[in-house]
């Protein structure tokens, strides 16, 4: 028991996010009472913790915001379920109705909830809402990630609007002060290091609001994800896909004749090569948003998983011997602190890289015929290699 509460404490302390799922509670219970009779289907989980379920339970989305286990009881905030299915229409109810979890021998590694309103949840790495009648379910629930995002949206709006108010009150003649000063550094950085070099001095101002919003949206969400109990929002592929599709959409809308001309009919290239080159160019155009999606998703997810694994090592060793577990605590914590510092850095770097690549892609789409091409391309390639 003490082992379990220590684990919860560490999870909360090192910003691993919330979801200690019921299976974990179950499995640790089993490790502490190993001599107790267990049913056959639980036999493989008898020794030690189920790391896969534990880690992915933490990094994936959930319909409730779980913090830790207090004794036997989970401390969690139930979140609203918003479900739509063609047969049943719109359905809104609280997620606390799904509280009984069981396993089915037919589906190993899957936890199934009780049925409510004609729905139940199947949980593997992710939670899936299944309708009892087998119809398709559109799940628009306010999940943990959505709620975390809404909190960060409120935070962003509050910060930016209050700073904007300060700007308006001070006017152009007053020197920035306090938090305004910190933010101004970031804004000027985005403008001078991201927007102007990639988009050109004439056009950059049009894209500044988008770039700034992308940057701060990702950065603040990254940081919130690192908070103890926070959600792994930016390490979710739906989120990064959405963001990169937005930048892809902007790129497609803003692309000029010069861009399409170079793409579909590259000048100065023999006809035979064109048949080879044009498909490659078109594929590379679609690979750009995919690369953006995967880069942010994988970076954030990996960071979270590494911190979780480092912490879990204590309990893996504790499974072997109690003393090994205790002995491993300082090593684990030192590693976790190091990873946490690294993640703080990565949070800012990834936000910058996403913004910069967005600017690079838009820049290549809006580039005029006789732009200083050589310099810009070299610059862009370097950034892509680093990223």
């Amino acid at each position: 028991m003490s082992c379990k509460s220590l684990f919860s404490l560490l999870i909360v302390a090192f910003g691993a996010f919330g979801f200690v799922n019921p299976s974990f509670a179950q499995t640790t219970e089993e490790t502490t009472t190993t001599t107790a009779a267990t049913t056959e289907e639980h036999a493989p989980e008898k020794k030690g913790i189920n790391l896969t379920e534990l880690v992915f339970g933490h990094v994936s989305d959930s319909h409730e915001w779980h913090f830790f286990e207090l004794g036997e009881k989970p401390v969690a905030i139930p979140l609203p379920m918003i479900l739509y299915s063609p047969t049943k229409g719109l359905d809104i109810f609280s997620s606390h109705h799904f509280e009984e979890w069981h396993r089915d021998a037919a589906m190993p590694g899957v936890q199934i909830s009780n049925e409510h309103n004609g729905y139940h949840i199947e949980k593997m790495m992710k939670e899936k809402v299944i309708a009892e009648d087998g119809s398709k379910v559109y799940d628009l629930s306010i999940t943990k990630n959505v709620l975390s995002m809404l909190i960060s949206v409120a935070l962003i709006l509050w910060i930016m609007l209050s700073v904007a108010k300060k700007y308006k009150a001070g006017g152009a003649t007053k020197a920035p002060s306090g938090f305004q000063n910190a933010l101004e550094t970031a804004i000027i950085f985005i403008r001078d290091e991201v927007a102007i070099p990639n988009l050109g001095k004439k056009k950059y101002i049009k894209y500044m609001p988008m770039l700034l919003t992308v940057f701060f949206f990702i950065w603040i969400n990254n940081l919130l994800g690192l908070l103890p109990g926070g959600a792994n929002f930016t390490g979710n592929i739906a989120v990064t896909l959405c963001l990169s599709l937005i930048s892809f959409f902007v790129m497609m809308i803003r692309a000029n004749k010069h861009f399409w001309g170079h793409l579909l009919n590259p000048p100065g290239v023999p006809l035979g090569i064109k048949f080879l080159l044009v498909p490659i160019e078109i594929i590379s155009m679609f690979i750009k948003p995919v690369a953006l999606t995967i880069r942010l998703f994988a970076n954030m997810l990996a960071g979270h998983i590494v911190i979780l694994c480092v912490i879990s090592m204590i309990f893996i060793f504790a499974g072997l011997s109690k003393f090994a577990g205790i002995g491993f605590v300082p090593v684990s914590i030192a590693f976790a602190i190091f990873m946490f510092m690294l993640e703080l850095l990565v949070a800012a770097i990834q936000a910058f890289i996403f913004t910069n690549l967005t600017a690079v892609f838009i820049g290549s789409a809006i580039e005029e015929a006789h732009h200083a091409e050589g310099v810009d391309h070299e610059h862009n390639d370097k950034i892509e290699i680093i990223a």
Binding site: V153, M160, A164, Y167, T213, V239, L243
Partner: protein, 164 residues
């Protein structure tokens, strides 16, 4: 693979939230902030340019001032010299006038003194003459009161004639 399938709900809410944040911030935060930033930068550039210009003007003004100072200095020296000349001239003239005037007064005084002296001398001479006559008359009267006197006088007169 489970992890790589995007969920519809999260995608939808992310899109909505991002667009809301984008439009609100675009209108109420980025626009004024970027506006004021560029305005400030423009202001700073202008201020530096005008300071630079002012500096040039100042140095120009300084050289002009120096020139003016030198000129004023020269003028002052000239004026001082002129004033001194005028002073000297006035003093000289005044001296000249005073001298002639004094001479004139002295001459007049001398003439008057001479005149007075002459008058006084004449008067004294007259007075002395009268007195001498009176005394001689008195002496003669006394001497000629007696016979001997008259005789002596006649002898004397006769002696005088003899001598001739």
């Amino acid at each position: 693979m489970d992890l790589l399938t995007p969920e519809l709900g999260l995608f939808f809410w992310t899109l909505v939230a991002f667009l809301v944040v984008f439009f609100i911030l675009g209108k109420f935060a980025w626009k004024p902030i970027l506006g004021i930033l560029s305005e400030r930068e423009k202001g700073i550039t202008e201020a530096i340019a005008s300071a630079e210009k002012m500096k040039g003007e100042m140095s120009q003004m300084k050289s002009e001032n120096e020139k003016l100072m030198a000129q004023a200095h020269e003028e002052r020296t000239a004026m001082l010299k002129e004033a001194k000349d005028i002073k000297d001239r006035i003093i000289g003239e005044a001296k000249e006038i005073a001298k002639t005037e004094a001479n004139k007064i002295i001459m007049e005084a001398q003439a008057q003194i001479n005149q007075q002296k002459n008058a006084a001398m004449t008067e004294v001479k007259n007075e002395i003459g009268t007195l001498a006559l009176e005394v001689a008359e008195k002496i003669l009267r006394k001497q000629l009161n007696s016979n001997e006197g008259q005789e002596a006088y006649m002898n004397m007169l006769a002696n005088d004639i003899k001598l001739n």
